[in-house]
């Protein structure tokens, strides 16, 4: 890190002080973010602790980035890493017929990995369907939900749904709150 980069990055102590200065609302935000990114392989609590560890280990936190946003991004990165680990997990199986031999040869079990991936895909499909079923009474909310899942911009979704900025913001809040209530610990996919 050169001196200019160092000047633009918070020191470890500055990150710690910024975290200590978080308000009750900020802590609630972090809890909610952790719930959203929690996975079966990593709980919301572990995500928070791991994000603290990354902050304390001196990961680059640019001065212009809000610390809550920095911790949220750390949790996202950790959760995605966990998801990748599960997706790429190699199951080792013995290929030695004589189990008593000291040298055990092993190789990846493609059937095991494929099975894990099939189960994960089924879980994802069930949650995907479950989320849409939460909005059976609100076709516009379903359209907004679908737009968010398809990575459409706010403008594109508003154009497709004929919502003005206020109505769109209100619909997004409704979506978030309903999901929040239905999956208080996140959908832990």
């Amino acid at each position: 890190m050169n001196s200019q980069q160092a000047a633009e990055t918070r020191s470890r102590d500055e990150i710690v002080e910024a975290i200590r200065a978080l308000s009750d609302a900020d802590w609630v935000r972090l809890r909610k973010v952790a719930n959203v990114y929690a996975r079966p392989s990593i709980t919301a609590e572990d995500l928070l602790q791991e994000a603290f560890a990354r902050a304390h280990d001196g990961r680059h936190c640019p001065r212009h980035v809000d610390v809550v946003r920095f911790l949220a991004e750390a949790m996202r990165s950790i959760a995605n890493g966990e998801q990748e680990k599960v997706a790429n997990r190699t199951v080792l199986v013995s290929v030695d017929a004589e189990a008593h031999r000291e040298t055990v040869l092993a190789q990846a079990d493609p059937a095991g990995s494929a099975e894990d991936q099939r189960l994960a895909a089924e879980d994802a499909q069930a949650i995907y369907t479950g989320l849409f079923s939460l909005f059976e009474d609100d076709p516009v909310a379903r359209d907004v939900l679908e737009g968010l899942m398809e990575d459409l911009t706010a403008e594109e979704i508003r154009e497709l749904t004929d919502l003005d900025a206020t109505a769109y913001a209100s619909k997004r809040k409704l979506i978030r709150r309903r999901i929040d209530k239905h999956y208080p610990e996140g959908w832990t996919l």
Binding site: V28, K32, A121, I127, E150, D151, I179
Partner: protein, 145 residues
């Protein structure tokens, strides 16, 4: 609405990111009201989180201190081993055999040193390290006495 063909998992990841954006952009008032509506106590939660963070910090600082201590010990060991590795063992054996002539050296050490011809190179290196800790160093052994 026209859809881009994609997996459900990717769709859910995108939704998670959108939900998080909304959480980060929401006002403090909205966030606190929601938390209370869901049966939470924001003050209590905040205090618990702060305590958890401080505990984490304490554990991390202890781990860093332990790692630093281990690093210093390893550096000292490496330095000591490096010095004995460079020493002229023949000269060191001569120096050890004459150690008994010095009045400032404890008798136990001089007895061991007199048997230098029975000692292996590794024994000699070990003795040199032990003596170095007492401030007794042969010529050429990092700041000799």
């Amino acid at each position: 609405m026209t859809g881009k063909k994609d997996t459900e998992r990717t769709a859910l990841d995108r939704l998670a990111d959108a939900l998080v954006e909304d959480i980060l952009d929401a006002s403090d008032e909205d966030i606190l009201t929601e938390f209370t509506e869901d049966g939470g106590d924001a003050k209590e939660h905040g205090d618990a989180m702060r305590k958890s963070f401080e505990n984490r910090l304490l554990a991390a600082n202890k781990a860093r201190m332990a790692a630093a201590k281990a690093g210093v010990a390893a550096a000292r060991r490496a330095q000591s081993e490096g010095l004995t590795a460079q020493i002229d063992l023949t000269a060191a054996r001569v120096w050890l055999s004459r150690l008994g002539e010095r009045p400032d050296v404890p008798e136990g050490l001089t007895l061991a040193a007199r048997k230098e011809d029975e000692l292996s190179d590794a024994d000699i290196r070990g003795m040199l390290e032990d003596l170095a800790e007492l401030g007794l160093k042969p010529p050429g052994y990092g700041g000799s006495s």
